[in-house]
């Protein structure tokens, strides 16, 4: 199996992630979304919050699921000054996709995962745009570029979070060994 697999190798047992790590990753994603993106960069900006949520929903679905995604969506609505529930609905759908597909995704390697993930992002973006169209009566097509860039970010992001989890695990282990 190549180095880039996200599924844990057989020898190690996946340890639970700490709540602090999940929370800080989500806050960091909100921070990245809040950077002053402008013009075409705003359209091309991957939705970091959606990416991180999807990662946790597929890798830890019994802890991080639809409820948390909805809450984060409400925060994103406030941060973006969009209507209450617009991001929340999109992220609810995203989390549902992640939770339902998590077994399938974990069997695939990252390249195959990317294709599956694109479907979920497309659904998320489409629901957001649909709501906007219903309320305001127009759609900006550039908005959908974001779903492509988000999909492209899936591989680097999964690898990064996975690497960070390994580092944390190693640190913990060293800590435990030193203590006795």
């Amino acid at each position: 199996m190549p180095v880039i697999s996200t599924t844990p190798s057989k020898s190690e047992i996946q340890r639970p992630v700490s709540n602090l790590f999940v929370l800080s990753s989500l806050l960091f994603a909100l921070f990245l979304n809040g950077l002053p993106w402008e013009g075409i960069w705003l359209a091309l900006r991957p939705d970091f919050v959606a990416l991180v949520l999807l990662y946790w929903c597929t890798h830890n679905p019994w802890r991080i699921g639809i409820g948390l995604s909805w809450t984060v969506g409400i925060l994103a609505d406030v941060a973006d000054a969009s209507l209450f529930g617009q991001h929340a609905l999109a992220y609810t759908l995203l989390a549902f996709g992640g939770v339902v597909l998590h077994r399938r995704l974990q069997m695939f390697d990252l390249r195959q995962q990317t294709i599956q993930v694109f479907g979920i992002f497309a659904l998320t973006y489409a629901s957001y745009a649909l709501i906007h169209w219903q309320v305001n009566g127009f759609v900006v097509w550039q908005y959908f570029l974001g779903s492509l860039t988000s999909t492209l970010m899936w591989t680097p992001l999964s690898m990064m979070i996975q690497a960070m989890r390994h580092v944390r695990m190693d640190n913990d282990r060293r800590h435990h060994e030193r203590r006795p």
Partner: protein, 306 residues
């Protein structure tokens, strides 16, 4: 999925994903409906925005640092460029000062004439400077947030301009921030007048580009390229006589009843970091109730004003 829902449940993990999906989706739709239709949730929104503001503040730092780094290099490298700019500004200032004294004389004259004819006096307005802290967060919206809020007595509906012209209007007020909807926001309307001949019309934003358009202009209307559009002051929200836009293109097609007029904003709608918030105008007397006879004409135009 069937597998996971119908197998034996040794551990209780709460309701199934489908149930949760339906619950949260309904909740979202309910919130959407309430927010879009009734706007009851503004206080919740401002409470949550206080919670989020540390992250938002933090997110502006890279931009500010970038700006400061740029400034640093300007002061190091291009001092004579700054001197040039200084000289230019001084020249500009002298020009403006001459025109200003003329303007003051005219203003006095205007006041006297208005008194003579028993017309209401034009009110002056005061301004307060505000800095843009966040730009639009969303491809669909053309809004910015500025660093003056309810604590600085900013109110919904106040007009925002820069040194050249109208930029937008305050549409939401938070404790320390307020949201400015730019005039290029889709369907945002400004009542304007053509400076050359006083023709009254309404200017609309187009949403995705930084252009504006005049709708419902008859094909025969007297309007030309490079015409300046200034606020008409009708409806008492925008003070009269402030430049808004310049006509850049007119398409007169006999197949359509209206001409398509495209304009560019005069103010730096997407440019500056500092904006002026104008004080609220005095309330006009209440519009008399519609009667069946006078129904029609301009009522539809003045519908979307805040």
């Amino acid at each position: 999925m069937i597998d996971s829902t119908q197998s034996f449940r040794f551990f209780n993990r709460g309701p199934s994903p489908v149930v949760r999906l339906v619950f949260f989706a309904m909740l979202s739709l309910l919130l959407l409906f309430v927010d879009a239709r009734y706007r009851y949730l503004e206080s919740t929104r401002s409470a949550l925005s206080v919670l989020l503001s540390p992250i938002q503040q933090l997110a502006t730092y890279p931009g500010v640092l970038w700006h400061q780094a740029g400034n640093f290099f300007i002061t190091q490298n291009a001092q004579h460029a700054l001197m040039d700019e200084n000289g230019e500004l001084r020249l500009q200032h002298q020009n403006d000062a001459a025109q200003l004294s003329q303007f003051q004389a005219l203003q006095l004259e205007n006041q006297q004439i208005r008194k003579l004819y028993d017309l209401p006096q034009r009110n002056g307005f005061t301004t307060q400077l505000a800095e843009i802290v966040y730009t639009e967060r969303d491809v669909f919206q053309r809004k910015v947030l500025v660093h003056k809020g309810a604590s600085a007595k900013v109110e919904i509906g106040q007009v925002v301009m820069d040194d050249a012209g109208i930029v937008g209007q305050i549409t939401r007020v938070y404790p320390g921030l307020s949201e400015v909807t730019l005039i290029t926001e889709k369907d945002h309307a400004v009542p304007v007048q053509v400076l050359r001949n006083g023709l009254r019309t309404i200017l609309f934003g187009s949403g995705d580009t930084s252009q504006l358009s005049l709708r419902y202009m008859p094909v025969g209307a007297d309007i030309q390229n490079d015409d300046m559009l200034v606020t008409s002051g009708i409806d008492g929200i925008y003070p009269p006589g402030i430049p808004v836009a310049k006509v850049i293109k007119i398409e007169r097609d006999a197949a359509y009843p209206f001409a398509r007029v495209t304009c560019l904003p005069v103010g730096g709608v997407d440019k500056h970091r500092h904006l002026l918030i104008l004080s609220a105008m005095d309330k006009l007397p209440e519009r008399p109730a519609e009667t069946a006879a006078s129904n029609g004409d301009k009522r539809t135009k003045s519908k979307r004003k805040n």
